[in-house]
Symmetry: C2
Subunit: 205 residues, 2 copies
């Protein structure tokens, strides 16, 4: 289980991370936490858990390289990048990652994701395979889409967000082919993050 | 003229910004500088010039909102977002921007940009118009593509990167419909950024 730590108050974020780390495979953070607390937060969290930087990198190859290098040098174990900027950007991400992992987003789970990304999800997954990414992000709210990406992904990792508050069910996502479920608000927004994390962890293992 | 300050050494970046600001309409920065120097760099640069955060935001609406709010609260005058995550993400960016401007990327100028983005460039520009973005990014290396986006953009701003080292010509881009040219390495990579900025500024005004 991966915690999406979408809390922008750094002190609160650190408390939640401390309380839940023992039940987690990784902590996933996004840019808002870096904008509020500075990039040092990556290093601080990496002392507690693996950190996946969900930076949804979507730039030209040289900028992708600099972002991935920056995240990894701060302690990230993985970086999430978009597949839609194409093969050269994905290859740049893989080359910059060193021992860290690169996960590609193919399809986005919000309504706007249907306008452009859903049309090309399988095609983008194939580009990801060609560029040797380590895994994919597939929507936990749509098990049929996890199944579709699993067919292409082979034995690569699939991580599925949208579990809990957003409506996705952890067991359904895992049965559909997800290796890791990503849980956010249900944990960090609860009065007792530790208890919820422990309970969810027990339920899916 | 906009300076793409793609220098990750914060001290060097500040020196270049100080030397060139008087010739610039804005300074454009990207995530690598935030990852190396912290988000405070946005505020420091905003004392010298308008700052456009070229964050190529490509996320779900709530995360887009948090990123745009974070950048604007640090002093950004504009934020660059991707159009491909769809209308709801663009609307979230506009709502979060307050008085700041939102620019949408339609087509990316690197080779991988042909794989997915170029196919939908006009369509994404139309989504941008519908969501009332303030302007678009169009490749300075391809004047014909600036013309195509100008037809859709009406009187909205067009900013064109890729001028100078990457091969784009400032006057050609302006003649094709760009309001602002974005120059990076030719200025920040030169031995005398001030002189180059002054000369370029004179040439296009």
């Amino acid at each position: 289980m991966i915690l999406a730590l979408d809390e922008t108050n750094v002190d609160k974020a650190m408390v939640i991370a401390n309380e839940t780390a023992q039940f987690l495979d990784a902590i996933k953070i996004n840019w808002p936490l870096v904008l509020s607390g500075g990039p040092e937060i990556i290093t601080r969290l990496s002392d507690l858990s693996d950190v996946i930087c969900d930076f949804k990198v979507a730039d030209i190859p040289n900028t992708v390289r600099l972002i991935v290098e920056g995240a990894v040098s701060r302690g990230a174990s993985g970086v999430i990048v978009h597949a839609f900027p194409g093969s050269d950007s994905l290859i740049a991400a893989k080359e910059a990652a060193g021992g860290a992992e690169i996960y590609a987003v193919t399809e986005m789970s919000h309504p706007g994701g249907m306008e452009f990304t859903a049309k090309h999800a399988e095609e983008m997954a194939l580009v990801g395979i060609k560029c040797n990414v380590d895994g994919f992000i597939a929507p936990g709210t749509r098990p049929d889409r996890i199944r579709a990406i699993r067919k292409i992904a082979g034995d690569k990792e699939i991580m599925s967000p949208g579990i809990g508050t957003q409506g996705g069910d952890a067991m359904e996502a895992i049965e559909a082919g997800a290796d890791h479920v990503i849980v956010g608000r249900s944990i960090y927004g609860s009065a007792n993050p530790r208890e919820i994390a422990s309970e969810l962890c027990r339920r899916i293992s």
